[in-house]
């Protein structure tokens, strides 16, 4: 009996000693800082996730080559959500609870970022979205940030573009009802467009995954629209363009940053001539930061030209690491405060200053498709 009790004491002592050793600061010094990324690396919107991931990887390699941050290396744990709704929440839970990441990066689409935002908020782990433009994303809580502009601004830019550049008074919209991004952008577009004296003559809808838009486009054709606003993602936009042209709709089509993908022209082909979209970035920009970024990106990724989401992904990790440096810790609340204080951060996607709503305010670039090529049209300052 006595020997048993002493054995129990011994076990208790061993446990205490072990935990003391494990929690000692010197044992943790060399451990890397874990950063989680969720992205649509495969599936319908794959180029969004691929671009973001390549941008983040480039930033990661540069930062680690320069010695990391706080004397520790950075470790990126990337998870794929297959462009499916529901999947982002699953992978984010894994990153938060099993990998214990200090911050989350991603995503390009608003709908899938909205899935993760409440989880990050509840876990008090900062989330920095690369290209999620719907205003609701950062309204989910004070741990949610983004490094891109929001759809209030983008919708206004495109409405003014339709009125002043396209000289269109009658516009039809074709909106994906299952995408928070598409519905939001169409709403902001309509507000400014109608206030500016335009009329929305047809409001047609489709659902995520649809590939046949001929019925909606036939109705749009009958409405006599002078231009068609398609705030969808690139695959939908390209298919819409092809089907519109095959139905004899030859008026300009235009959309938002969801069109930004190297796949757009591959799927759409020459049907895209005479279309326009707004985005965050153009590799033709002559700012020194952009020129250096394009050069480094091409060298790292087999001469591939970076798109907006590569630049935003690249900046999101740099802003995070800059904040960790300023906070001097990776602890959630202090890191959150440091990210919120980001000011005049000059990066590949322009200058990032996070406002009190944790949004960045950046200029929008309008791209025109002419002769099967993307051409810089103009930049609109916020």
């Amino acid at each position: 009996m006595k020997s048993l009790r002493s054995l129990r004491h011994l076990a208790a002592f061993a446990a205490v000693a072990a935990s003391a050793v494990l929690s000692a600061p010197f044992a943790r010094a060399a451990e890397p800082i874990k950063v989680g990324e969720f992205a649509c690396l495969t599936g319908k919107d794959a180029t969004f996730g691929q671009s973001q991931h390549k941008g983040i990887l480039l930033a990661l390699e540069e930062l680690n080559a320069a010695g990391g941050v706080l004397g520790r290396k950075i470790e990126l744990i990337a998870e794929d959500n297959q462009s499916k709704s529901g999947e982002s929440a699953t992978v984010a839970k894994k990153l938060l609870s099993r990998d214990k990441v200090v911050a989350l990066l991603g995503e390009v689409t608003s709908g899938r970022t909205l899935e993760v935002a409440p989880l990050a908020q509840a876990a008090k782990i900062p989330l920095i979205a690369s290209g999620a433009t719907n205003p609701a994303v950062t309204q989910r809580g004070d741990y949610v940030f983004r490094v891109c502009f929001i759809d209030d601004f983008q919708g206004t830019v495109m409405a003014k573009f339709a009125l002043n550049d396209l000289k269109a008074k009658k516009v039809a919209t074709l909106v994906s009802v299952s995408s928070a991004y598409s519905v939001g952008l169409a709403k902001f577009f309509k507000e400014t467009f109608v206030a500016g004296g335009g009329t929305v003559v047809a409001e047609q809808k489709f659902s995520e995954g649809d590939k046949d838009f001929k019925a909606q486009l036939t109705a749009i054709k009958a409405s006599g629209a002078e231009a068609v606003f398609v705030p969808g993602y690139y695959q939908e936009a390209a298919l819409v363009a092809r089907q519109a042209r095959s139905l004899g709709i030859n008026v300009p089509l235009f959309g938002g940053d969801g069109w930004e993908s190297e796949q757009l022209l591959k799927i759409g082909g020459e049907a895209l001539n005479g279309t326009y979209y707004s985005t965050h970035f153009t590799p033709e920009n002559k700012e020194p930061e952009v020129v250096t970024f394009v050069k480094k990106f091409k060298a790292r990724w087999n001469n591939e030209t970076p798109d907006a989401y590569a630049a935003l992904g690249y900046d999101s990790l740099y802003i995070l690491v800059d904040s960790i440096k300023r906070a001097g810790t990776t602890e959630g609340a202090k890191l959150r405060a440091a990210i919120a204080a980001t000011k005049n951060f000059s990066g590949a996607s322009g200058v990032t200053t996070l406002d009190k709503d944790r949004n960045a305010s950046k200029p929008a670039t309008i791209i025109a498709v002419k002769d099967g090529k993307l051409q810089f049209h103009k930049t609109v300052a916020p």
Partner: protein, 296 residues
């Protein structure tokens, strides 16, 4: 009026593809009395065969298009026969539920091996046939729509001829009527069933090419929705009935297109399925299906 006619053409070209896939469901149901859920994935494989063949065959030529179409049909026929041989034949005589679950398993196997072998990212389907638009006043018809409707009509007539005018067609109908009796009069059931799978899968392969021609972005999960719609079309027309499947497909495609072009486009699937429920309430065996009393 021209909007109505345009929608009708759009609807018919979508419906023709549904009809082609529906034929495969209905034929297999006719001889084996079970739903081959892997059928929609054979359709997907058909598009991918076209995609890979398209890399070696010049685009925008009529002969190239025909070679791709026939290649996909042949490839899918072989795949369909292989699936039947490996997955369904060992279960012949087992409970229908077991075969049904196996079919779902084969479907998932094809979808996810497709993601491994073809990659999960959507691919751009090449323009295999030369394309042009014809204008009739306000009405625009593209060559792709004409090709879809013409090829589908041709294949359906061909199928009807095979089933009603050839020896193997007679054997198919015999097996469908009573497999045991067919065997007694010297029909080799295995050959007939294998042939049925081959024929149905070839039609799915053709459907895959025609679908990809009109919606040139293909991925390993592309078969799921068209497959479901085609299944509904087959039930709508009367499952096991070949003209019924064609009628169901055309009807469903047209209704879906008209709803899509209206203000209620968000409800398009709900309306399509509501029509199915209503038709089945009044005609439980489908539009052209014969209602038979089960003898106990």
């Amino acid at each position: 009026m021209s909007e109505f006619l345009q929608q009708l053409i759009n609807g018919l070209s979508l419906g023709a593809i549904y009809a082609l896939i529906a034929l495969g469901y209905t034929m297999v149901y006719g001889v084996l009395r079970f739903i081959n859920f892997a059928h929609s994935d054979v359709f997907m494989v058909g598009s991918f065969i076209g995609y890979y063949l398209g890399k070696h065959i010049p685009e925008n030529t009529v002969w190239g298009g025909i070679v791709i179409l026939l290649g996909a049909m042949l490839g899918c026929a072989l795949l369909g026969m292989l699936i039947e041989r490996l997955a369904y034949r060992p279960l012949r005589g087992a409970a229908t539920l077991n075969v049904l679950i196996t079919a779902i398993g084969v479907s998932l196997l094809l979808e996810y091996s497709g993601q491994v072998f073809f990659g999960a990212t959507p691919r751009t389907f090449p323009a295999v046939f030369p394309s042009a638009n014809f204008n009739f006043g306000n009405l625009v018809i593209s060559t792709n729509q004409i090709i879809v409707i013409a090829v589908a009509a041709l294949l359906m007539v061909g199928l009807q001829l095979i089933v009603y005018r050839t020896k193997i067609g007679t054997a198919m109908r015999a097996v469908s009527l009573n497999p045991k009796a067919a065997q007694l009069v010297g029909v080799n059931n295995d050959v007939v069933i294998s042939f049925t799978f081959g024929l149905g899968s070839a039609l799915a392969g053709a459907g895959g090419i025609l679908y990809a021609l009109n919606y040139p972005s293909i991925d390993p999960l592309m078969g799921v929705m068209p497959g479901l719609k085609a299944f509904v079309a087959a039930v709508l027309g009367g499952i096991g009935n070949i003209p019924g499947a064609a009628l169901g497909g055309l009807l469903l495609g047209t209704v879906e297109t008209f709803v899509n072009g209206s203000q209620w486009s968000t409800y398009k699937d709900a309306i399509a399925f509501a029509i199915l429920i209503i038709i089945l309430l009044f005609r439980p065996a489908g539009l052209l299906g014969k209602f038979t009393v089960e003898k106990v």
